[in-house]
């Protein structure tokens, strides 16, 4: 119907119809503060006439007047310097049934109850079922449906807090009790330690998967994106591909195409199947995330990462490969020997995205480690350095990785613990 309306008005069109059902229980002080369901039906159009292109988004059923209005606006926009005709491989088809939401309060209760000995817990369970259909005037079409769910919980004892998360593709992936137990374990280990303040300095740090995954997610969004490379706002250029730019133990992939990943998405808004992209291979800058337009402009292949919009690629799910470091917290403290353990972080801000100068605020349990043992908890810590130093100064990655995601993470990740040498920290 939409293509018929557009006949004569545009040369090319792609239609993406989405229907998402979200269920979310939020809780605080051990009680549910709100239980929500939001249902979103939307249509996204890509329209092109000559080399003029425009994107249109509308909720509800598309109406004739909205489609015509969008098509008429095409004459008002300049030509798209990155224009490429529609085309490429067929989008993959994938289907799975929606899961019921009724067990969400049980997960909340299980997580809260398992956090024994803590004063209170706050958190969220968010379950999404999304159905997407793609069709374009080049004759390509496909559809998929998928579930995704995560639980994040922060528990408190006095001034101390700990956050743990569990993310996956179905409710059975969510280990609610483990989340609660982990929080309790972390808090009881830190409880009773003296409190210290730090002065700005360089130090060795042990980052949890939440923190390390967060920073690598930021990097993937800003430095490994084709649109940022085109704009000149990435640290890297196309010429850096193949060069050693990070620690030789660092391998990072985007695994949005992986069915087990929380961010699993079979194809993007351009109908391009997502495929695994190595961003770093053993410290070598190995790949860039692309839309069809950014790939064409840089003379590369599309990767299926027009995930949030048509114009700018973004990662969907990041995988940081494990190495041979210890998996156990106590062994990791011994590996760090002297430095700081940062359990979680938030509020990452860049002074300059091109140079990667940033700071991020430590959150939850922040421990001072001396001779391999926690000796104090630190009230306020920031990491204040460059992303370049983060990826170059990696000394240890644990041999186990976790799939984690929470509200302030830029991208869901599979991430290990990481020991970073000589990193700037401040209060």
């Amino acid at each position: 119907m939409i293509f018929k309306i557009l006949t004569g008005l545009v040369d090319e069109a792609a239609v993406v119809k989405t229907k998402a059902e979200h269920y979310m229980a939020r809780f605080a002080n051990d009680e549910i503060t709100v239980f929500k369901h939001w249902s979103e039906e939307a249509t996204y159009l890509y329209l092109a006439k000559g080399k003029r292109a425009a994107f249109v988004g509308m909720t509800g059923p598309p109406t004739l007047d909205k489609i015509e209005e969008a098509a008429k606006r095409l004459v008002m926009v300049p030509e798209d310097p990155l224009y490429v005709p529609l085309g490429g491989p067929q989008p993959a088809n994938y289907s799975e049934p929606a899961e019921g939401f009724e067990k969400i309060p049980d997960l909340v209760k299980a997580a809260i109850d398992a956090a024994e000995g803590v004063e209170r817990s706050a958190g969220v369970v968010h379950m999404t079922y999304i159905v997407v259909e793609y069709r374009d005037t080049a004759g390509r079409s496909g559809s998929y449906s998928a579930n995704r769910v995560y639980l994040a919980m922060r528990s408190f004892i006095g001034d101390l807090s700990a956050t743990s998360t569990s993310a996956g593709r179905k409710l059975a992936d969510i280990k609610a009790e483990e989340v609660g137990k982990r929080n309790a374990q972390i808090l009881h280990a830190a409880k009773g330690l003296p409190q210290v303040k730090i002065e700005p300095r360089r130090a060795d740090v042990l980052l949890s998967p939440l923190v390390f995954g967060h920073l690598i997610g930021e990097l993937a969004s800003s430095w490994a994106s084709g649109s940022e490379i085109l704009a000149g706002s990435s640290r890297y250029t196309k010429d850096d591909l193949g060069k050693e730019v990070a620690s030789p133990i660092l391998t990072v992939l985007d695994i949005t195409s992986d069915k087990a990943a929380y961010g699993f998405t079979p194809f993007d808004l351009e109908g391009v199947p997502t495929r695994p992209i190595e961003i770093y291979r053993k410290g070598i800058f190995a790949g860039v995330l692309h839309t069809r337009r950014t790939a064409h402009a840089l003379g590369m292949e599309p990767t299926g990462h027009a995930l949030r919009n048509w114009a700018m690629p973004s990662p969907g799910h990041i995988y940081i490969a494990p190495a041979d470091g210890p998996a156990d917290a106590e062994e990791l403290f011994r590996e760090l020997k002297n430095g700081y353990y940062i359990h979680n972080n938030w509020y990452t801000r860049f002074q300059n995205v091109k140079t990667g100068q940033f700071s991020t605020v430590g959150r939850d349990v922040l421990l001072e480690i001396k001779d391999g043992k926690p000796v104090a908890f630190v009230k306020f810590v920031r990491i204040a350095d460059t992303l370049e130093n983060v990826v170059k100064n990696i000394a240890v990655l644990s041999k186990e990785i976790s799939q984690v995601y929470w509200w302030d993470m830029p991208t869901p990740v599979h991430a290990p613990y990481a020991v970073l040498k000589n990193i700037g920290i401040t209060t």
Partner: protein
């Protein structure tokens, strides 16, 4: 629409809810981006849906739909009530709302007739040619809302908004690299007038600062903050921690809590010169509204008076927790989001100093005009603000530009204030909070002010 909304209300009450709120919301607009002078994207969007909140069985439920048929809206009502009852089973105390005089009101702000691409072309031409990276985005849209509650509110609003973001990077390997982020916006066409002049001036400064700014010697300085700094300081260290839902832990797992604790609300947080207000109904501002999304009339919220916390940003639920009336602070960014306590236009009230007199009165200090990166811990106690444009002050005179960071704890920042200027300016921002995240339009600002003896590091 009216019939549908009232049928939904009645249906929710019939299902056993003690409170039902139905909000229709439509956001429609156009946006565009330029990358180094070339079109990056042009888009039109149209988002419309109905949101239902219900209190039932002691809990709060929320449901929304984009399908505005009677059947689907009644389904959403059923969902909201069912989810509220399920939530109520995991509550120690039932959700209650404060009693209010509910608004019956309709208002429309004149449309903003501007084209994003045209605006951006003008701005892009204003950028200094030495700047290497230029990313510009403009968004012009209108938000329409109809909020109806089972206890008597019925409010329609139609508010246009414009928002412009410019990211400018001057990168010169031999000198270094500087990034400036600029924001413009409001609820009137006038609100972005003069933006090209600001873009021109600020982009030219990057080369100057890159060449001339020296790292500051670490130490304690008297710091004079210009209004852009006042804005971010007020927003982060007073506005957020004064959101009553945060204080009571509702955002504990996400945006965080507050240094203000339940049971000890009205603390001293600043010197006698510190008066901070949040006021939505400032005409033309980006944070403008007259009635909140629970149907309560907006009014000035006197957050800090003479250094003491006197009032908190709240919605009806958290007003009931401390036994006060709502001050109209509930906002929802989209049809699919619940109304929660949010800032609007948050500012330090002016004092009686001329800004240049504050500088002349400072023997050894730093004058900070604008910032780069900034952040604050989640209780809003420990902040860090990177200095983009700043100058050393010696014996009341501005000297060379400096670079560095102010690392400061909130009681120290506001407690050491001894001079507040008579100038005043608001700056545009998008405030993030809630899960799912809700970015809402706000402004922040105030006058130039001085805080003594703060830690500044290179």
């Amino acid at each position: 629409m009216e019939t549908l909304i009232y049928k939904a209300l009645d249906y929710g009450l019939a299902l056993g809810a003690s409170y039902v709120e139905v909000r229709w919301q439509r956001d429609a607009g156009t946006a565009a981006g330029l990358r180094n002078g070339q079109l990056e994207f042009s888009t039109t969007y149209f988002s419309e849906g109905i949101a239902v909140r219900a209190v039932a069985g002691g809990g709060m439920g929320f449901a929304s739909t984009t399908n505005i048929s009677l059947e689907e809206v009644l389904n959403a009502v059923e969902q909201a009530v069912r989810l509220a009852k399920a939530a109520g089973k995991l509550r120690k105390s039932p959700v209650t709302l404060s009693e209010e005089h509910m608004a019956n009101f309709s208002y429309t702000v004149p449309a903003i007739d501007l084209e994003p691409v045209d605006l951006l072309k003008v701005l892009d031409e204003s950028v200094d040619k030495m700047v290497n990276v230029r990313r510009l985005v403009a968004n012009v849209w209108t938000t329409e809302k109809r909020v109806v509650t089972s206890d008597g509110a019925d409010v329609f609003s139609k508010i246009p908004r414009i928002y412009i973001y410019a990211m400018l990077i001057r990168h010169e390997p031999s000198l270094g690299s500087l990034q400036r982020d600029l924001f413009f916006g409001g609820t009137s066409r006038d609100s972005v007038e003069g933006a090209e002049k600001v873009v021109e001036e600020e982009s030219k400064k990057l080369s100057l600062l890159l060449e001339k700014a020296k790292p500051i010697s670490p130490g304690r300085y008297d710091v004079v903050f210009a209004p852009e700094m006042t804005g971010i300081l007020v927003h982060e260290s007073i506005g957020h921690p004064f959101e009553l839902d945060r204080i009571y832990g509702r955002e504990g797992a996400e945006a965080g809590e507050s240094y203000i604790r339940p049971g000890n609300l009205r603390i001293r947080i600043g010197s006698e010169y510190v008066n901070i207000t949040d006021y939505p109904a400032v005409p033309g501002t980006y944070g403008f509204y007259l009635v909140d999304d629970e149907g309560v009339v907006a009014r000035p919220k006197q957050l800090v008076r003479n250094g003491v916390a006197t009032e908190f940003i709240t919605n009806r639920q958290y007003a009931a927790v401390i036994g006060v009336h709502s001050n109209g602070g509930a906002r929802a960014s989209l049809y699919s989001r619940e109304p929660i306590p949010r800032m609007s236009n948050t500012y330090l009230e002016p004092g009686d100093w001329k800004p240049d007199e504050i500088i002349k009165d400072t023997r050894r200090g730093v004058y900070v005009v604008s910032y780069t990166e900034w952040n604050i811990n989640d209780t809003r106690y420990s902040g860090r603000y990177g200095i983009l444009e700043g100058y050393l002050i010696e014996n009341g005179e501005l000297k060379h530009p400096i670079r560095g960071f102010i690392e400061v704890e909130t009681p120290e920042l506001w407690g050491n204030v001894d001079a507040v200027g008579r100038d005043f300016k608001l700056y545009v921002g998008t405030c993030g909070k809630g899960n799912p995240s809700q970015g809402v339009p706000v402004t922040m600002g105030g006058p130039t002010f001085r805080s003594r003896n703060l830690k500044v590091v290179p």
